[in-house]
């Protein structure tokens, strides 16, 4: 199986900083066990050179390749591609050891240690490559390229439009009966019940009215929005004259102006659950306040917020609002405003800046706040995606994209995550639509490679892996032992690191491989 490693050392890059002795490095390589060929070349990325070293690899029957001294990202992809094609080398047996990045560049100030450290690094890289397994990646065809969007709010419609423009069929699941103008199919009065399958091939069960339907799709966009129903929080419940901010927007849109003094308050306590300061209403609130003062300069307008930040162009609105005499009152979330119960049209609030308790008379109070969509929990359970402590759908690492959930093929945008201004929600909808469309349009889902595998004999079926894996890849199979669904496995190795019976290994990052590589590196004395 392990025939031998060819080590290719590139002189141009190695000698760049004048700190490395390339010939000595080459001797280290050729003395190392498992190395069948050591080639020092002027420039490894040169096409002609590549062909020469591939010939050498084939002649020496090398089945693995280690290139020094830069990282795989910096080496011409042609080098590895040619190997894969001509020498039929497995992609998992070709690695690069980044001596420049890890040794030469950061230790220029300590030049005597550069050479011995580079040698140790090379030795450990050789130890590692000798232990690597040739792995395979598998692909699965997507049975459909449909994109399903959950929620027909601003973000959802935008997502469907973008995916549709990409040439894909889109289906919007919307719980209300409202008429939606969006491309593809819109299913009103419907909601997600459960989901099966994995990226590229999801099978959803949808409840439409009384019936249940099955829906296959390649990718999913969650745009479930917030809870826009009207009763919000204890303050608002006490008041007849309290309305959500979108009522004010509507009134303004219809050319009406509310009479009397107005307070716009970010209710700190919607439904009794403390939520962080909500940024999504800042712009809307500013916009309404300036509009009213502009039209009716005698109307008192107070903006009572825990925090108010105007971003981008909204800065102009803020400036205008101040100039027009909108009164900004900032309060501490620990001291939320109270309605004067003896006189139901006064709001008692302590202004943080002045440390002064104010009693504001008003005629109408608009609350600028939204609670998370109560359906989020059910959506998260069905799609197996995480939910945040504030009740929104939690996105995955930013490295996966700003609208990605940790699960491949499922994206989230807009207020489903956390209250967003309409503009931001639309933009996120676009992004999610695009990412979902690109994902679905690929037509195939590739998986495997460096994934986890269970040694059944050692498994105690303790469920630790099943409970800990963020992707729900491990499951207890029919033999009563853990197994890994490789379509779900993303190769993080959390299960391998936590298994109390040491029954799980992550291919090419096994305990033995990691320990041997570490020991070899520690073996160097520098």
């Amino acid at each position: 199986m392990n025939r031998g490693t060819q080590v290719v050392i590139c002189r141009v890059c190695s000698e760049g900083a004048g700190l490395l002795d390339v010939d000595k490095l080459a001797r280290v390589a050729s003395d190392a066990p498992g190395v069948c060929s050591t080639v020092v070349v002027e420039r490894a990325c040169n096409k002609k050179t590549v062909l020469e070293i591939v010939d050498d690899a084939m002649a020496k029957e090398a089945d693995r390749l280690l290139v020094a001294p830069c990282s795989k990202k910096e080496i011409s992809p042609a080098l590895f591609q040619t190997y894969a094609k001509k020498a039929k080398m497995n992609e998992f047996l070709m690695e690069a050891v980044d001596i420049i990045g890890e040794v030469t560049l950061p230790h220029r100030d300590d030049p005597t240690r550069v050479q011995p450290k580079a040698e140790a690094k090379l030795r450990s890289a050789i130890v590692r490559i000798n232990m690597l397994e040739p792995l395979q990646r598998t692909e699965e065809r997507m049975r459909t390229s449909n994109v399903v969007v959950i929620g027909a709010g601003a973000a959802g419609i935008e997502a469907a439009s973008v995916a549709s423009a990409f040439g894909l069929h889109t289906v919007i699941i919307e719980k209300s009966e409202k008429k939606i103008d969006a491309p593809g199919v819109v299913m009103p009065k419907s909601r997600l019940i459960s989901a099966k399958g994995h990226a590229g091939n999801y099978i959803l069960t949808i409840e439409v009215g009384e019936k249940r339907e099955t829906l296959e799709c390649a990718a999913i966009v969650v745009a479930s929005g917030g809870d826009w129903r009207e009763a919000k929080g204890p303050i608002v419940d006490e008041l007849q004259v309290a309305k959500p901010l979108h009522h004010l927007e509507q009134e303004i849109g219809e050319g009406r102006l509310p009479g009397g003094a107005i307070i716009i308050l970010d209710t700190p306590d919607p439904k009794g659950i403390r939520t962080p300061a909500q940024d999504f209403m800042w712009e809307e609130a500013l916009h309404c306040a300036t509009h009213i003062r502009r039209k009716s300069p005698t109307t008192e307008v107070y903006l009572v917020f825990q925090e108010m930040r105007a971003m981008g162009l909204a800065e102009f609105d803020y400036k205008e609002a101040s100039e027009l005499g909108v009164k900004f009152i900032r309060y501490d979330s620990k001291k939320p405003p109270k309605v004067d119960t003896k006189n139901g049209t006064r709001l008692i609030v302590t202004d943080m800046a002045q440390e002064e308790t104010l009693s504001l008379a008003f005629d109408t109070l608009y609350y600028a706040s939204v609670a998370p969509n109560p359906d989020n929990a059910a959506i998260a359970v069905a799609l197996r995606i995480p939910i945040s402590s504030s009740g929104g759908i939690r996105r995955g690492s930013i490295q996966r994209g700003p609208v990605a959930t940790p699960r491949p093929g499922i994206f989230v945008c807009g207020t489903a995550k956390f209250p967003k201004s309409r503009e931001v929600a639309r933009l996120e909808g676009k992004a999610a639509g695009l990412m979902a469309a690109q994902f679905a349009a690929a037509g195939k889902w590739e998986f495997g490679g460096s994934v986890a595998e269970v040694t059944s004999d050692k498994c105690s079926a303790c469920l630790t892996c099943v409970r800990t894996c963020p992707y729900e890849a491990p499951f207890i199979g029919i033999a009563g032992k853990a197994e890994i669904a490789i379509q779900m496995c993303q190769g993080c190795g959390i299960c391998a690191g936590i298994c109390p019976s040491k029954a799980i290994e992550l291919h090419n990052y096994t305990d033995d491989q990691l320990s041997a590589e570490t020991a070899a590196y520690l073996g160097g004395d520098f």
Binding site: G101, H107, S397, Q399, Y521, L522
Partner: protein, 139 residues
């Protein structure tokens, strides 16, 4: 006791961890050559055993560098990594070895200052504590 050339192992995740290291290096930062980086896909892959083995194999200090906990590429991986590190530290305390030889760090790919800081912290710790060997006061 101070060792001019301590041995420090850093298990570094190949997502934010490695990217923060790369960024520091490409920005010209210099750090103690005693640091030996071993790449893991995610700090959740790190087993307490890897850390203990590294110490057995001659490391004076070991650190684990992963993504920020709220922004881990593998969602909960760096939280798992921290728990493994904490457990090893408990074990070390129980056998009378300084737990500060083992540390967990988190960085995002844009925190250019973070890795040099980590290397310097660990290097100082390793130099201060020296190798794990019989102390003068042991009978």
């Amino acid at each position: 006791m101070a060792d001019a050339k301590p041995k420090i192992v850093g298990f570094c995740c190949e997502k934010h961890g490695t990217e923060s290291v790369d960024l520091a290096i490409r920005s010209g930062e210099q750090y103690d050559a005693s640091v030996r980086l071993v790449t893991v896909p995610c700090t959740g892959r790190v087993d307490g055993l890897h850390i203990l083995k590294a110490l057995e194999d001659g490391a004076d200090a070991v650190f684990v560098l992963g993504c920020l906990e709220k922004n881990c590429y593998y969602d909960t991986g760096s939280i798992e990594g921290r728990k493994r590190v904490e457990y090893v530290r408990t074990m070390l305390s129980e056998v009378g070895i300084e737990p500060e030889r083992v540390e967990m760090f988190n960085a995002s790919s844009t925190m250019v200052w973070k890795f040099p800081e980590i290397a310097s912290t660990m290097s100082q710790t390793a130099r201060r504590l020296g190798p794990i060997e019989p102390r003068g006061d042991t009978k």
